[in-house]
Subunit: 235 residues, 2 copies
C-alpha cells in the first residue's frame, strides 16, 4: 500500500569506519534502499530503533559498547532483521552473534552481490510477517503495541505489549513463564519471577480499563493463558 512514490525499504548501517560506511551506503542506495547511518556510538541501539528500519547492518567492532551488546538489545526490543558484518571470522563469534538473535553473519571483505543477496533474502523472509495479531476482535499492532478492541484503542507500554503479543499469538493456549522470559528479557535463564508478575498485574489492569477483564488466567506452576472469548474456558 503506498501513495505517490513506492515506499523504500529502510536500512540502518552501523559501522564506525567512515570509508566502509560510505561504501556500504552507496552500494545500497544504488539498489534503491533508503539508508541511515549511525555515526555516534553512545546510544547505538536506541538510535537504531528510533529509525524504525526494515533491516540493520551491524559491525561488531565498534568504539564503546560492543556490537554483541547492541545486537542483543536490538533483537530483544524489536523483531527487525539484523545482519552482522564483521572482520572477525572466529567461529565462536559467529555462534555468539547468532545466539544473540542475529539473522545473518558475514565476514569482511564481503562481495557486494553476496551482501545484496543476503539482504534482499532477509527482507523477503520478514515480509509476510504480519503487522498485527488478531484474535476474536482483539487486535494488536506488533510494532507499536497499540491495542484495538471494538471502538477503543490504547498503546501498551513495551513490556505489557510483549506479554500481550505472546498471549494473543497463543490464545487459549498456555504461554509458559520461560516463553515470557525469553520474549521480555531475551533469556530463558532465571530472572526474578516477580518482575514478570508485576508486569502481568499491570497488563491485567490495563486490559480492565478496556473491559477485557478476567481474560488472563493463571496456570499454576506453568504460566498464563489468554481466554479469547468471554465465557469460554479451556485448560
Amino acid at each position: 500500500m503506498s501513495k505517490g512514490g513506492i515506499i523504500l525499504k529502510k536500512i540502518v548501517i552501523v559501522e564506525d569506519d567512515l570509508f566502509m560506511r560510505e561504501e556500504l551506503a552507496s552500494i545500497f542506495m544504488k539498489e534503491k534502499y533508503a539508508i541511515s547511518c549511525i555515526t555516534c556510538f553512545q546510544h547505538t541501539s536506541k538510535d537504531i530503533l528510533k529509525e524504525s528500519p526494515d533491516l540493520v547492518i551491524l559491525d561488531i567492532n565498534l568504539p564503546g559498547a560492543t556490537g554483541f551488546e547492541i545486537c542483543r538489545t536490538v533483537k530483544q526490543k524489536s523483531s527487525v532483521p539484523l545482519l552482522v558484518l564483521t572482520s572477525r571470522d572466529q567461529m565462536r563469534d559467529e555462534l555468539h552473534a547468532l545466539n544473540l538473535g542475529a539473522d545473518e553473519y558475514l565476514t569482511k571483505p564481503c562481495h557486494k552481490d553476496r551482501l545484496l543477496a543476503r539482504v534482499s533474502n532477509l527482507l523477503r523472509r520478514y515480509e509476510g510477517r504480519n503487522h498485527f495479531v488478531e484474535v476474536q476482535g482483539i487486535r494488536l499492532d506488533r510494532k507499536t503495541y497499540t491495542l484495538y478492541v471494538g471502538e477503543r484503542s490504547i498503546v501498551l507500554p513495551e513490556n505489557q505489549g510483549k506479554i500481550m503479543e505472546l498471549l494473543l499469538s497463543h490464545s487459549d493456549d498456555i504461554v509458559t513463564k520461560e516463553m515470557f522470559f525469553k520474549k521480555l528479557w531475551g533469556t530463558t535463564e532465571y530472572i526474578d519471577e516477580n518482575a514478570l508478575q508485576v508486569n502481568m498485574t499491570r497488563l491485567k489492569k490495563t486490559l480492565g480499563s478496556i473491559f477485557l477483564n478476567e481474560r488472563i488466567i493463571t496456570i499454576r506452576g506453568k504460566g498464563y493463558c489468554l481466554v479469547s472469548s468471554e465465557g469460554m474456558k479451556n485448560d
Copy 2:
C-alpha cells in the same frame, strides 16, 4: 464490532459526595453503562484520562483542584464528551464551563431521565466521529496517535500527534498557528510561538523516519500545510 459480549460504553463519574456518587453509579449501571468512579482528587484529570472513558460526568465543586481546571485539562488532552453536573446554577458558571469545552451543563438536583437522555444524546453525537483520519494512505489513530504509513507504524508523542491530526484533517490546506495553539494548549492567546516550532521540528523529524519528508510546508506568516501526495504543490 465486538466479540462474545457487547462492548459497553464507559462512563467516569467525578463526584466527591459519596451518596450522590453511588446514586449516579447505580442509575447508570442499571442502564448498562460501565462505570468508574474517581474517589481521590489529587490527580483527577490524569486519572480520568487513564480510564479512557466514553464520557465523563464531572462535579464542579471538588476538594482540591477546581472542577473548571479539570474540565479544561481533560478537554484539552482528549476529545471525550464531558458533562458538568453541579449544584451551582449561576449563568456565568455555565458559560465558563461551556467555554472550557464542556459539552453539557446540568444543575442538581437533576431528574434521572433528563440526565440519561443527555448522556445518550452526547454519546450518539460523538459516535460517528471517526477513530482515524486518513489521507492518501497516511492514517492516524486520533486517540493513541499511532500513525500508519504503508507497512510502517509509529506512535507519536501527544503534541506531535495533535499537530499531525490537525494537518491531516486539513490536508493540502493551511492550518493557522492559532488553530495549533487552540488544539495543543487550549487557547488562542499568545503562547511562545517557539514552542510550536520546536514541536513542528520534532514532528518533521519523526515523519522523516518513515519517509514522509518534506510533507509539511511553511506558509510564512500564516501557518503550515501538509502536502498529501509526494510531488504535489498547493498554496
